[in-house]
């Protein structure tokens, strides 16, 4: 059973990380959480909406699986908006590729999920950007924590 503290931790981390500069080098927002903390839900999915302001050309994200490697247990990030969706997966303890959806301003959906049962610690970075790859600001709302 997910506790409110986990949700608060995720939100707190997201806010704190807004000013962090990481290996992702592009992150305006970054947050960490535990997915499937009980280790028994292969379908566990964390989901947030991100509102990108006027002037946004695309929304980018990447994910880092910070748990010990387990064969067949991989963490992926997904971006969805309107009729477009993309994904990237963290492998071998490295950040995933940075992936983008070119959907202009508006609401994007950002999710993190995995391929099997087992708790996974992860860090996700995200950024609304204009056509010159300059951050335009983000407003993230957590919708679902599992």
């Amino acid at each position: 059973m997910k506790t409110p503290s986990i949700k608060k931790a995720f939100i707190g981390a997201s806010i704190l990380a807004a000013s962090l500069y990481t290996s992702l080098a592009m992150a305006y927002g970054i947050g960490s959480a535990v997915l499937d903390s009980a280790g028994n839900n292969a379908s566990a999915t964390d989901l947030a909406s991100v509102n990108c302001p006027d002037g946004t050309d695309h929304f980018s994200a990447a994910v880092l699986d910070t748990s010990s490697q387990v064969a067949g247990l991989l963490v992926s990030v997904h971006i969805y908006k309107d009729t477009q969706m993309t994904t990237a997966t963290s492998t071998n303890g490295n950040w995933s590729d940075i992936v983008s959806v070119y959907g202009g301003a508006g609401t994007y959906y950002l999710s993190v999920r995995k391929t099997n049962v087992g708790a996974r610690n992860f860090t996700v970075g995200w950024d609304c950007r204009d056509s010159n790859n300059v951050s335009t600001g983000t407003d993230l709302q957590v919708l679902q924590i599992q």
């Binding site: 292969a42 009729t83 959906y109 679902q144």
Partner: protein, 152 residues
């Protein structure tokens, strides 16, 4: 680069799947190849599934399974995701190339538009079959339509 032939093939498969409906024995399955060139780890196929009461009752949930028909490759796993109204779930076929599909995934969102996607964890072409049914609270099949939005 995805060619039109593959896209048409996927859409044709979906249309045939709908035509395959016979009474209450459902054939809402579609097959396709994702990342046919084998060089796009981010390849994602995306569709809208419209659930409605066709006389068998209002929708309670969308039921989905995914089957990876390609031979196993370490680190290359195929998954399906379902999203509706602030809720999302997913399921992975953890054993590729066998005769079994993944466990089922469900989102209980009532009638309306669900988003169904298929993605994978690394580069490499994968042949897959995805099965989707709008169902009532009693798991009775009800109205199910699909519109393909993105094929990669």
């Amino acid at each position: 680069m995805k060619n039109t032939y593959l896209k048409n093939g996927f859409i044709t498969a979906l249309i045939l799947a709908v035509i395959g409906y016979s009474g209450h024995t459902l054939a809402h399955s579609a097959g396709a190849t994702i990342d046919s060139a084998g060089n796009n780890a981010s390849a994602t196929d995306l569709a809208q599934v419209i659930c409605y009461d066709d006389g068998d009752g209002p929708t309670d949930h969308l039921y989905v399974t995914i089957q990876d028909n390609s031979p196993p490759v370490s680190g290359l796993l195929l998954s399906a995701q379902v999203y509706k109204d602030g809720h999302m779930t997913n399921v992975t076929d953890t054993v590729s190339g066998d005769a079994n599909s993944s466990p089922s995934a469900k989102i209980s969102g009532g009638d309306g538009v669900y988003y169904l996607s298929v993605s994978k964890t690394a580069t490499g072409a994968r042949d897959f079959t995805v099965t989707y049914h709008c169902q009532t609270a009693a798991d009775v099949h009800t109205g199910t339509d699909i519109t393909v939005l993105q094929v990669q």
